[in-house]
Symmetry: C2
Subunit: 156 residues, 2 copies
DNA sequence: TCCATATCTTACGTTAACGGTAGATTCAGT
DNA sequence: ACTGAATCTACCGTTAACGTAAGATATGGA
């Protein structure tokens, strides 16, 4: 007989909480079996499915959006051209990811530049417009690196 | 005199809402000036600062975390070694971004693979264990591509 | 001055994703 | 059979980031 886990074991295994697991079930994302007494039992497949869900959540996907991925097969069952619908759904996710990756890259560059500027600061106590400190910003900085707006424009 | 905008204009300009802008002010992220009557006035610098904030929010940063970036200068003012504290804070953000980017890359690969498998489906109406359809999963699929757990394991 | 908008403050409502608690029931070891 | 630990259901609480509505005031053009 296949191994089955109780909810507490699954929570420990995946580093999540019992409440979270039950919540996903309420939301229709998981359907464990039960003992006669009502205790939930999770198979290996249940566990790996849950793991997938947790990974997606970690990456900022909403439960709603995960539900959509899960319903892909239902769409797929109905016919030939619906396989393309499924592909389209996944393509949508891919675009979403590409956009996010692009924005992250932009942010990374910004922070790196901001760090370079801040790194030159030797603890000046001057106003941001002062010329005493090599790090204190000219407008040029503030314009080229968005983040510096946040850092230097303290009285806006 | 420099140009100043009213809150509605700023909202239109940046594609956000009046409520959001006021909320950021409540949270101490923005300090526009006022007319004698109390109407908020935003300078170009205010606008670009707000734009930065909106970009960060779009990328999943919390207002709390953005407040931290904003307070960097205050930390910087106190002395020399605090410049390193600032750098450390920015480094933290960089690591956060790197981790996210890595996970996104993983997800991208997964979805691509899942798409390839689904693409082979010719509209089968079989159970997932069936052999009639080249896309219907053997366990091997389910294990190598996490997403397929979600797609095919519909009754878990 | 008059009036149509726009903005103001105050305050309660909303949504997602859980957290926490109570009181009853089940499980598993002895 | 007994018992401590785990699980069950049901329900209310929480947090972030706004939405929405009311009633009062400000703005800017004819």
């Amino acid at each position: 007989m296949a191994i089955e886990y109780k909810i507490g074991e699954v929570a420990d295994l995946l580093g999540t909480t019992i409440r979270t697991i039950r919540y996903y079930e309420e939301e229709g994302l998981l359907r464990p079996s039960r003992t006669d007494g009502g205790t939930r039992l999770y198979s290996e497949r249940h566990v790996s499915r849950l793991k997938s869900i947790l990974h997606l959540v970690e990456n900022g996907f909403s439960l709603e959006s995960i539900r959509l991925i899960g319903s892909v097969r239902e769409t797929c069952k109905t016919g030939d051209e619906s396989s393309r619908k499924v592909s389209a759904q996944l393509d949508g996710k891919l675009k979403e990811i590409a956009a996010r990756a692009h924005e992250l890259e932009r942010l990374k560059k910004e922070i790196t530049q901001a760090k370079a500027v801040v790194g030159k600061c030797r603890g000046c106590r001057n106003k941001p417009t002062s010329k005493g400190c090599p790090a204190c910003p000219a407008k040029t900085h503030a314009n080229s690196v968005e983040l510096l707006n946040l850092i230097w424009d303290q009285d806006s």
